[in-house]
Point group: C2
Chain length 180, copies 2
């Protein structure tokens, strides 16, 4: 869920590489050591520079360096640099006139903002400094609980024990694959 684009992933990788050296690095170096194709790395770094996360130095002996201390740069900035400031739902981005006169839908839309805030807060707390120290936490399996909840819900569903054919999804989705 909540797919973050590959470009954004690259951006975090590149920013992390910049975080561990204080002299400017060239695109070629960064691309080489991160395994990201050079033109693509260039594109990503250009975006990062445009939004001020990194600073660019042109000309011979130029390159990119972080615009600040890694501990002061939240991952949110990196993400926003690539994906733009668009919100989670579409109708919250434009004037949202016309299509959203269904009040039932739009009261939901108002609450998407709550979710939006929560997610962005989470991304704001984590900084690039946190990203460099790799600590593979073991409590990641928590994620897959939600699936289990769904199954437990099956038992206590509506009292009328009618068909309940939704129970047939035994484990053809056991590829939870979070532990990565």
């Amino acid at each position: 869920m909540l797919r973050i684009s590959k470009m954004t992933d690259y951006a975090v990788v590149l920013a992390t590489h910049l975080a561990v050296s204080d002299t400017p690095r060239t695109v070629r170096d960064l691309a080489g050591e991160s395994g990201i194709p050079q033109p693509t790395a260039s594109k990503v770094l250009k975006l990062l520079a445009k939004s001020g996360v990194v600073t660019s130095f042109r000309g011979a002996r130029g390159g990119y360096s972080l615009s600040g201390r890694p501990a002061n740069i939240p991952v949110l900035d990196v993400v926003c640099a690539i994906e733009g400031p668009v919100a989670v739902t579409e109708c919250s981005s434009e004037e949202a006139s016309g299509s959203c006169e269904y009040e039932g839908s739009c009261e939901v839309q108002a609450n998407w903002q709550k979710i939006n805030v929560a997610i962005q807060a989470a991304l704001h707390r984590i900084t690039l400094a946190d990203m460099v120290r790799a600590e593979p936490s073991a409590e990641l399996v928590v994620l897959s609980r939600s699936r289990q909840d769904a199954l437990e819900r099956q038992q206590i569903a509506v009292p009328t024990a009618r068909t309940q054919e939704a129970t047939d999804n035994d484990d053809h989705r056991a590829d939870q694959r979070i532990s990565g």
Copy 2:
């Protein structure tokens, strides 16, 4: 940033509609009152049923109803029902062999999980019951601060006052449009 697909948006809308009535509703009804095209609504509801968020009743007088109390169904379940359990980064989904032998990248990848957990925790806290009561909170503007942080960072960047041409992005991205 973090675009949630329109399908997922639909799913939350539909689930919210189901949350306010305890008798099963047909696709036609739900589609009609939510403004979602009927075939699309059907597709979404099928997915929700498959992952157990809603329960389906076939045949005449059939329909869909929530599989549990709205307060017990986190939005995370709805989102996962549509988008699947894939993680934020791509290389954390497969076995991630082969492409990820760059240790610099992969230590970052390990930390993406941290972000993943944070986001999913946020989505887990909010339930369908929260989505029903529409309370347009006014403190949403917090989001756009991150942009401002970036600008402030420009001032204190690397001490060597070289080119700093990244400062030229005055406000051609002032369309922060979060207030919705």
